[in-house]
Symmetry: C2
Subunit: 482 residues, 2 copies
């Protein structure tokens, strides 16, 4: 049964040892992760207060400088099922069955995400999904969401947070039984951890040498899509790329990933309409043909950075916890940012089911279970940056993909590529998907290079050789302690 | 010729395009790296001003919470040769030919660092070496060193630094043509980069779950060493370890590496003299027998953290540069911290020799050449933590070491283990040493496990098999894009 009622009935409101009364939980940030978490904790019976720095996106038009559509796939959907919203979310989804690769002459070919036709990803509007989650969370009397309240800092010893009201500029302090920060890559709680120096806080922020800029393919005059709807379009150009994801209104959100300062064309030297047009004419002629709005978009929209954030510990005692991007912001190239944050809520929910004795034990168990997987997806997302901008156009990579498609189609349960393990196998963690997926990739590439397999061979023979080589690679790594 | 004069004569004072007059360089920090850099830049004719936050260690007794002896090896010696101090430094060195492993019953065996008897590392006093470098730097009229001046922040746009005098508490601003921060893991310049948010600054600080505490083996009443002098002693206990390095006065500096909060005994629960003594009696009985001062040392000395710092960029335009630990602090397990910082000075000196047109070009070239190697030694040092506390006591690891010793002895120029590549092969970079060394380790461990080689085989056959397997591993990694 996929409705809120059935879900809230089968959960328990709080651990028996959590002092016997409903706990007050303060959530910082009502983005995708925060609103889903508020909904789930509301369903579980906690008293939930959420403060969001931005205005309510349901009544104000804000893009907030973030991608306006996102890839939504099985791990995210597992969380959506948990809160009973699968059908409502499905209405917002546009299936993308594969990558449509555009070469420099405008020729295209489709590279499916899986050899199994029921495995695909979806394009979804960030705003529509966030609005749905806010609406559903607010249906619970025990959930309150307040906007235009920016968190300035968190006193994690006292379990209080300092907020400022955007309109009045007044500052006020809120306390709670525990505070969960889902306030994104620039988290106020994470900053308070870092600056306090009260405990050993491991932390990293790593930027790519590339930034990104959002552009648009507008719909046709009759509201149709200007290019094939059900694909993630890629123009891979080795050191840079353009991608496009469809929106429900017939438009596509287009993103240019490009170095800030290297190469013939880069963000630092694309400074005039002439140079921008010249660049697109040379590198993306078929895209340019459907982008009369290119120059306006290019100079109106900001150029944004691509960063990875990792840190540890995520929690301070049982007082405060980082969740979602605040704990593990990743680059967008695996389409897993939102999915990973949603999966956080599923994993957190599982720990709540264990009836641990206090928040400290809950937070500790959650981080121990979860961090290895969010570290893995951060690394996988960077791998995929290189794969998308370059390898997808490389003959040996294409032969590998051809073999993997055939294996996935022929052996429904016995073979999944790295992409499938990460994207469509929500019952194994990202780390396990990474270790097995990388070993498989290495196995197939080596077997192809050494001419031990070819894409014309019998599939069963290929599968046996790939499995044996993968196992040998994993075993050698185990012995070497890698 | 190893004296200052010969060295300062053969260098040039400044690049022709650096405006024709001696450049004023401000160095923040007169530790090992800062004092060596001041000496070298003084030899090259620059006007050098150094500010150090601590008092002058030549006239004040300060340990400053840091190891009082260090491992000094070939990469560090390359820098010492560059400044003409090889003979003077040699007088401060105690050769350590290998690891002396102490098992739980107090039995010992020696595991040499190399199969070649001229390859060994040295124990050296941090204070004595620093004092020598300060004395030599101050012999240059164009070098000034000022103590008790703490850097609070750096304005990297204006190329000025804010200092506070320890005694008067007065603050003052210094400007320079460029500023080089050698102010260690807690660098004020790096903090200014991070907090400014004026450019994309990638940064990481990663702490191990273990901390360390320094203890002592005092000399005998007649001033002799209580255990074998010419070794780095290790008591490996898998999840923790004790090590000891000799000092010239007959004492050893002993360091306990132990988890803060895991395991039966940890820093958080070693809170009474009884428990500390019980722990040593059980785990390090032969060490305890020569440590009547254990309990006093244990409760007087601080417990310190073990962290790795990486960041990028190291420089801001041609105005400011991070060097040494401020750019790349590493854990101590490869004995390469000081050696890496000294090698920074050698690499920086090489770039100065290129006569580039300005500081921006010099700093950019230096970081491009150098960062890959300091990233590698950071990772190698963490590998070696696991090797030292555990693997050295593991039979297959010992068989690997036995084979490597034999190969190094038999093939003087044709084989070097990972340890030798890192420690004794100063003409290849850390990154190359890491890639080749890790592949060799994996090759030997796999060949041993698969019983393709054994330590009784003919050495020439072993070498051929190891080389072939190493090459195959590197080739497979290349194909897989690793």
């Amino acid at each position: 049964m996929d409705n809120d009622k059935s879900n809230s009935e089968k959960v328990f409101p709080f651990g028996e040892d959590l002092e016997g009364a409903a706990q007050n939980i303060l959530i910082i940030g009502a983005g995708l992760c925060g609103s889903l978490l508020a909904l789930r904790l509301g369903q579980r019976g906690y008293n939930v207060t959420v403060y969001e720095m931005r205005p309510d996106l349901r009544t104000t038009d804000i893009s907030a400088g973030r991608s306006i559509n996102l890839a939504f796939s099985d791990r995210g959907n597992k969380a959506i099922k948990l809160v009973g919203l699968e059908d409502k979310v499905k209405e917002l989804c546009i299936p993308m069955n594969g990558r449509m690769i555009h070469d420099i002459e405008g020729k295209t070919f489709m590279s499916n995400y899986s050899g199994r036709d029921y495995e695909y990803i979806n394009s979804i509007s960030r705003g529509d999904l966030n609005a749905l989650l806010l609406n559903e969370a607010e249906k619970h009397d025990n959930v309150t969401i307040d906007f235009n309240k920016k968190c300035k800092s968190v006193d994690f010893e006292k379990t209080t947070a300092l907020f400022q009201d955007y309109n009045s500029k007044n500052e006020f302090i809120e306390d709670a039984d525990c505070i969960i920060a889902t306030d994104g890559a620039g988290s106020a709680l994470r900053k308070s951890y870092y600056l306090s120096k009260k405990f050993l806080f491991s932390f990293s922020q790593e930027y790519l040498s590339h930034g990104y800029k959002e552009l648009t393919f507008l719909p046709t005059e009759t509201g149709d899509y200007k290019t094939y709807k059900n694909a993630l379009h890629i123009w891979p150009r080795s050191s840079f790329m353009l991608i496009a994801l469809p929106n429900l209104d017939g438009s596509f959100t287009v993103t240019l990933f490009l170095s800030y300062d290297e190469g013939e064309y880069n963000f630092n030297n694309l400074t005039t309409p002439e140079v921008v047009t010249e660049f697109f004419k040379k590198e993306f002629p078929d895209a340019l043909a459907i982008m009369p709005n290119l120059v306006d978009d290019f100079f109106e929209n900001p150029t944004a950075a691509l960063g990875t954030v990792k840190c540890s510990p995520w929690h301070y005692k049982g007082n405060t916890l980082l969740m979602g991007d605040s704990a593990h912001a990743i680059v967008p190239f695996y389409g897993q940012g939102m999915n990973a944050s949603f999966e956080d809520v599923v994993e957190f929910d599982k720990v709540l089911d264990q009836n641990l004795k206090n928040w400290d034990a809950i937070f500790k168990t959650y981080e121990k279970n979860r961090k290895k997987d969010t570290d893995a997806i951060a690394d996988l997302a960077i791998d995929n940056f290189h794969e998308m901008k370059g390898h997808v156009a490389n003959p040996i990579f294409q032969e590998k993909r051809k073999i993997e498609m055939a294996l996935e189609k022929e052996f429904r349960n016995a073979y999944s590529s790295k992409y499938s393990l990460v994207t469509f196998n929500e019952n194994i963690g990202y780390r396990q998907a990474m270790l097995k997926g990388r070993a498989q990739d290495k196995a197939i590439l080596n077997l192809l290079t050494d001419k031990i397999i070819s894409s014309d061979d019998d599939l069963k023979t290929i599968l046996e050789k790939v499995n044996a080589e993968t196992e040998a690679i994993l075993e050698d790594d185990r012995i070497a302690g890698l």
